[in-house]
Symmetry: C2
Subunit: 494 residues, 2 copies
Amino acid sequence: MAKDKKTPRPRAETPKGFRDYFGTDVTERTEMLHRIAGVYHRYGFDALESSAVETVEALGKFLPDVDRPNEGVFAWQEADDGDRGDWLALRYDLTAPLARVYAQHRNDLPTPYRRYAMGPVWRNEKPGPGRFRQFYQCDADTVGTASVAADAEICAMLADCLEAVGIARGDYLIRVNNRKVLNGVLEAMGVSDPAVQADVLRTIDKFDKVGEAGVRELLGKGRLDASGAYIDGVGLSDAQAEPVIAFLTSKGETAAETLDNLRSAVGSAPVGAEGVDELSQIADLLAAGGYGPDRIVIDPSVVRGLGYYTGPVFEAELTFEILDEKGRKRQFGSVAGGGRYDDLVARFTGQKVPAVGVSIGVDRLLAALREKGRMGGDATGPVVVTVMDRDRMADYQAMVAELRAAGIRAEVYLGNPKNFGNQLKYADKRNAPAAVIEGADEKARGVVQVKDLALGKKIAESASLEEWKEHEAQAEIPRAELVQHIQKLLAGEV
Amino acid sequence: MAKDKKTPRPRAETPKGFRDYFGTDVTERTEMLHRIAGVYHRYGFDALESSAVETVEALGKFLPDVDRPNEGVFAWQEADDGDRGDWLALRYDLTAPLARVYAQHRNDLPTPYRRYAMGPVWRNEKPGPGRFRQFYQCDADTVGTASVAADAEICAMLADCLEAVGIARGDYLIRVNNRKVLNGVLEAMGVSDPAVQADVLRTIDKFDKVGEAGVRELLGKGRLDASGAYIDGVGLSDAQAEPVIAFLTSKGETAAETLDNLRSAVGSAPVGAEGVDELSQIADLLAAGGYGPDRIVIDPSVVRGLGYYTGPVFEAELTFEILDEKGRKRQFGSVAGGGRYDDLVARFTGQKVPAVGVSIGVDRLLAALREKGRMGGDATGPVVVTVMDRDRMADYQAMVAELRAAGIRAEVYLGNPKNFGNQLKYADKRNAPAAVIEGADEKARGVVQVKDLALGKKIAESASLEEWKEHEAQAEIPRAELVQHIQKLLAGEV
C-alpha cells in the first residue's frame, strides 16, 4: 500500500476467454432454465447445486501427478496452515460432481436418485471465437437403476423441455440409438482387437460427413479426401464392413422396420440382440406415454457419444432451417444429448452404479429460441419519467411508484436534468417505450405529456413526411390518468 | 495412468468449507431470488452476470505483491504459453466486478447505470460452523449519480423486495442514517486527527452492545467490560463526547423531530448540515412514494457500515421475534444493508463516480422466510406409481404421463420392483403424497389403488387405535379417474 502512487491503474478487462452477460442475456437464460427446471421437477427430479470448487482428487480426470495439475481445469493448491494443502479446482462439468455427491451421500439419497443441476462450469482451454472458458450446463441424470424405463423417461422429459421453452412439436426430433447394438455389430464383424474397434468407431463418427460410400472406403483401403490428402483405411474386407453399413443405414419407415434391420445387422451376437431389445422397449414405453415418432425415433445414424456411453444414447435436433454465416440454409442441429454410462461412482466406492443422463446445450438452445423469435418479449426498457424541475423530484417519484404498483417497469431520470435532450437520449438508450414529462405548466394544469417513444422510433424509421405529420407520438393527458394511459400505450391501444 | 492400479480411491468429499445444496435448498432460494429480480426489474434495474473469474489486478484489494496472492481470495496464476501469465481469482463479492464492468463498458452503458446481480462469491477464509467459502450475494447498485433520489429509490425497492418474498409489512423496518452527519458530529467535537476519528468510529460501532452509558465511558477514560478486562477509552472530555451521544440518541417520534435533533448534534458543521438535508430529502421522497415510517425511518443509531460508506447508509431489519439456540426470544435482525460509496471506478479510470447500492443477505433472508413458514409449500415429493408387474412398465409410464400432463409431479418407481415394501419405503423417502398401485387383479378390473401417504403419516403419528381404524388411507378408484382423484387428494378433498 505504501507503493500506491507508483502502482499503474489496473486494466478494466475480463480475463481472456471470459465474458459478462448484460440484461436480456441474463434474464432470457434464467427464464429458459426456469421452464426446464419446471419440467424436470414434474418428472420427480430433485435439484442439486454442488459447490463450484472440488478437490482435484474428486474431479478425477486431472490427477496431480505434475506440479500444476491445471491442464484443462482451473486449479490451485490450498495454503493449509503454512503447509501445502489439497489441490482444488473449478468443476469442468456437472457429471463429475454428481459422481462425488452420490458417492458421498448415497446412504441418504433415494435409490434411484433423480437429480437435475444447472450452472456454470469452467474449462481452462485456449479461448476462441464463440468459445468461452465459463459457460452454462443444464443436466438431468438418474443414478442407480439399469432399467431402460429410466432412459425412455429422460427422452420423454427432453421432448417436454423443448416444448416448454417454446420449440414447437415438429421443429425438433429426438433420435435414439444404442451402443450395445454397435457392440453387436463389431462382434458380427469379427473385430475384437480394441485398436481396430477404436478405428471403426472413429470411422462411424465420420458417417455424417462422408456418407455411406465414404465409410465403405475408410473401413477398407482408404479414401482421397476433398483436400487431396489420402486417408488410410482400417483395412477391413467388404464382407467385414457390411454389418457397419447395415447398422448405419438401418433406419426404416417405422420403428418396427428399423428394429428388424438392426436385428439382421447384429446377426447372432447376444449383446447386439440385447441392444435391439432395449431399443424396442424404449420405443414401446415412449409410445405408451404418447411420445410418437413425430417426436422421438429410433435412429441408428446417431453416432455422437457412442464411444463414451455404454447403452442407449440420444440426441435432440432442431429440424427447422436457419441461414448460416454465408447465407446458406442449414438445419439448426443438435441442442441436447445424453445416454447411459455405468462407471460413474465406481472410482469412489469400487461399486459400479448404472446411470443415465441428458445435458441440454444452454447457449445453443437459447440461440435457437432467439432464432425462432421466442425470446425478446421483455426487452423493452422502463418507462422513463423525466425531471423538468429538480425540486419536484418527489412528484416524479410518486409517478413511478404508481406505475410500478400497477406492474409497469418505470424509473425516474437520475442523471443531471439540466439538458432535456440528454434525458430523451437516455430514454432512447434504455429502449424506453414512453417518456413522461411534467413541467411547471403541466403541473399547474394537472396534466402530463406522454411521448410514445416506440411509435416515434417506428415513424422515424419508415414514415413519409405526410405520415410523419399525421401521427402524433405525444399526448397530453390528465395526471390522474397516467397509469391507465401507459397501460393502453404498452398494449398498443393508443 | 500407468499407475492406475496403485492409485487409492479418491475421497468423496466437498473441499473444506464448501457444501452442496439439495432439493428445496436450491428451489426455495431460486424462487426467492426470482421474486427479488422481478422487483429490481420493475425499478428499471438491468441484470448483469459478470464472469466468476477476474484478474487479481482488477479485483484490486489483493495485489500480487507476494508469490501467492491468495489471502482472502482463491487465486492462481495462468500458465500462458509456457510463460507465467496473469494471476486470476474467484470474485469475493459482486461490487468489485461491477467496478470493473462499469469502467470497461462505461461508454456503452446508460448514465446512471442501474444494475442488479445475483450469484455465488468465494472467500478463501477459515471455514467455521455456518460459515462457508462459497455463498450467494444479491445486489442492486446505481452507478453514476450523486442524487439522493437514487438512495431513496433503493430504500423503497428494498421494502418492495421484502414484501415480494413474503415478509409482511410490520415485520420489517428499513433504517436510514448518513455518514455525512457523523462527519459533522466529528467536526462539532473538534476531532480532526484521523487516528482519533477511527477510535470514535470503533466506539460508535459498539453502541448496540454497550448502550449510551458504555459509549460515554469508552469515549472518555475507559470501561470495565463484562469479563472483568479494562478497555482503554478514547480519552475525550465529556463536552467533546456530547455530540456523539446526541447523534446516537437523536431518534425522535417523527422524522422531523429526529432531523431537528440531528441538526443540533452537528451544530455549525457544514458537512453535517448537508447530511441532515440529505436525510430530510430522502424522507420526503419516500413519503411521496407512499413509504411511510411504518416501513422506512431515519434512525441515527444505524452504525454498521458507517466506516465504509460516504453518504447515506441503510439497513433492513426483521422485527419479529424468533427463539435463539438457547430458547430465548430475540429479534431476527438484519437481512440487508447498503449505502453510498464514491470511489468505485476511480481505481480504473482516475475519475470518481458516485454510486449507491444494496446487498441482500440471501441465506439470512431465506432462513427468515423458513422461520415464518413462508417457504416449504413445494416440499412434497412426487406421486409415486409403483411397479407390480415389471412387464407392464408401459402402463405405469402412461399413468405418470397423464399425471404430469395435468401438472402433477409424478414418477414411476425405477428401482428393483421385487420387494413391494421397498417401493413404499422409497415413496416415503421421496416424501410422496400418494402411491398408486395397479396389480394384475386391478388391471383386470379396470381400477387402481391409491394410498394417501400424507394422511397415512398423519394417522401413524397421532391417531388412537379407534381413529386409526376409522380412517381409510387407501382407496380403490376406477383407472379412468386417476388424475381427478389425485388432484382431489392433493387439494385435501378426499
